[in-house]
């Protein structure tokens, strides 16, 4: 691990001032950053510990929605009664992520910023080529072992999967990220790789995530997070779906639908084609299964990950039907 100095920030302003130092990185829970420093991927000169700033970990839920401080722990949000009632998919995305220990450490802001688990990205000694780590150096994953790489949102430069679960639920329910004085939709916060895969977020120099805001909606209240993994627990998603459903007064007409996919794309992937195809129609297994296939429109498989293109729509259909009481 490269040498670094350690500073504690006493306030968000303090953090911004310290973070202006060249080579400085913000340290919150540390579960991603220390791991990547040990891998030789992250090479900070200075760590600015923001984990002791008070007042940034509040969780507030009211009729309008939820506001979650950036330093709230994953476990606190997963267990929060108000979140579980108004945003079950969000709470479930967190309780199914990582392990109990990691959920006690990792913060909501840091969770959003977690880096890809692409094994080529994480091993610079064995695989020098990585456009995300070293722009222009190439991609060792393309043509390599690609079982867990993305099928949606990929480019010639990068096929790394966005690994998080929370952001998938957030993107489904139109959540926004607060960067101090500026607010940006989660959907616009994450950037597809294109030819600049090193740039993953619309976060500017000197900016820090201070909170996440999620508007309340009937679809968010009736929602679920389904996650399929290679082992039952403590594993990243092979595919995941955050789905919310609002039915009309007849109990059969789909009034609102939210669908987002994780584990299959380079960013949290909102599936508006599925939503648009089903909104206003009757909830029926056949039409739900047919429309769910639109979730992977435009997917491009690598050598080892074509199964994700079959898996993801099935997950979407199962989530919609189970919310509607039909599965």
């Amino acid at each position: 691990m490269k040498a670094f100095t350690y500073q504690r920030a006493g306030s968000a302003e303090d953090a911004a001032r310290l973070a202006a130092h060249p080579g400085a990185m913000l340290l919150a829970g540390g579960t991603t950053l220390l791991d990547l420093a040990k891998c030789g991927v992250a090479e900070p000169d200075m760590l600015v510990d923001i984990g002791h700033i008070s007042g940034l970990d509040a969780i507030a839920v009211d009729a309008g929605g939820a506001t979650i401080g950036a330093l709230a722990k994953m476990s606190a949000v997963a267990d929060h009664a108000g979140m579980r009632a108004a945003f079950p998919a969000v709470a479930e995305s967190l309780s199914q992520a990582a392990s109990a220990q990691l959920r006690n450490m990792a913060t909501i802001g840091g969770n959003l910023l977690q880096r890809t688990r692409c094994p080529y990205f994480r091993d610079p000694a064995a695989f020098p080529a990585c456009n995300k780590r070293d722009p222009g150096s190439g991609c060792a994953a393309i043509g390599g072992v690609t079982r867990n790489h993305a099928v949606l949102g990929t480019s010639e430069a990068c096929i790394a999967t966005y690994p998080g679960d929370l952001a998938v639920a957030l993107v489904a329910f139109d959540a926004a990220v607060r960067l101090g004085g500026r607010t940006i939709a989660v959907e616009e916060f994450f950037l597809v790789p294109g030819d600049t895969p090193a740039r993953e977020h619309a976060i500017g120099p000197g900016e820090m995530i201070t909170a996440v805001a999620i508007p309340a909606s009937p679809a968010a209240r009736r929602s679920t997070f389904l996650k399929v993994r290679d082992r039952q627990s403590y594993e990243f998603a092979a595919a995941s779906a955050a789905v919310g459903l609002e039915l009309g007064p007849d109990g059969r007409t789909i009034r609102d639908l939210r669908v987002a996919l994780g584990g299959v794309a380079t960013v949290p992937w909102r599936c508006r084609a599925v939503e648009d195809a089903l909104k206003g129609t009757l909830l029926e297994p056949e039409s739900v299964r047919a429309a769910s296939r639109l979730a992977v429109e435009g997917a491009v498989a690598q050598a080892d990950n074509a199964h994700k293109i079959d898996l993801a729509p099935r997950l979407v259909a199962r989530a919609i039907l189970s919310l509607g009481g039909l599965a």
């Binding site: 040498a3 670094f4 579960t31 760590l47 392990s99 109990a100 220990q101 450490m105 627990s233």
Partner: protein, 158 residues
């Protein structure tokens, strides 16, 4: 050259002042600087749970925590679990009774995790214990006995 920092840690109720490289993890501070080798280093990258300790009463991974991050927060390790007279914690006793280990390397982490799991109220059924103990791997495969030990300790605590 790295500039060393001086920090004060609260380990099992004792105050410890250490001067160390800022890169030193809480795990290495415990084992290499304080001689508390009960906390184990398994993967050293947050995947196995062998290094589980409690910080501020919550179970965390000491391999992904800098010692400096823990300064000012109470830390409990496996050495701090038993009563002052040496009497075993009920979870330790349950692990012995159920033979919930083979080689024993993951055991301190399993026990620290189990104590927290029970305190959190996540040990209500075998299924729930398996889910909430998923962050602690046992390469010997002693899982059935671990679940039985946690279940018994949870029943005794309730």
């Amino acid at each position: 050259m790295t500039t060393e920092i001086t920090i004060e840690l609260d380990i099992n109720g004792r105050s410890e002042t250490l001067t160390l490289d800022p890169r030193v993890t809480l795990l290495d501070a415990l084992r290499e600087h304080l001689g508390l080798t009960g906390t184990k280093k398994g993967c050293d990258q947050g995947q196995c749970g062998a290094c589980t300790v409690h910080v501020d009463g919550a179970r965390v991974l000491s391999c992904l925590t800098l010692a400096a991050q823990a300064a000012g927060r109470p830390v409990t390790t496996i050495e701090g679990l038993s009563a002052p007279g040496g009497e075993l914690h009920p979870v330790q006793a349950a692990f012995l009774e159920h033979d919930a280990f083979q080689c024993g390397y993951c055991t301190p982490g399993q026990i620290m995790s189990a104590v927290a799991c029970i305190r959190e109220g996540h040990a209500g059924s075998d299924e729930e214990i398996r889910e909430y103990m998923a962050g602690n791997l046992c390469r010997c495969g002693a899982y059935p006995h671990i679940v039985a030990a946690v279940r018994q300790a949870a029943e005794m605590a309730s």
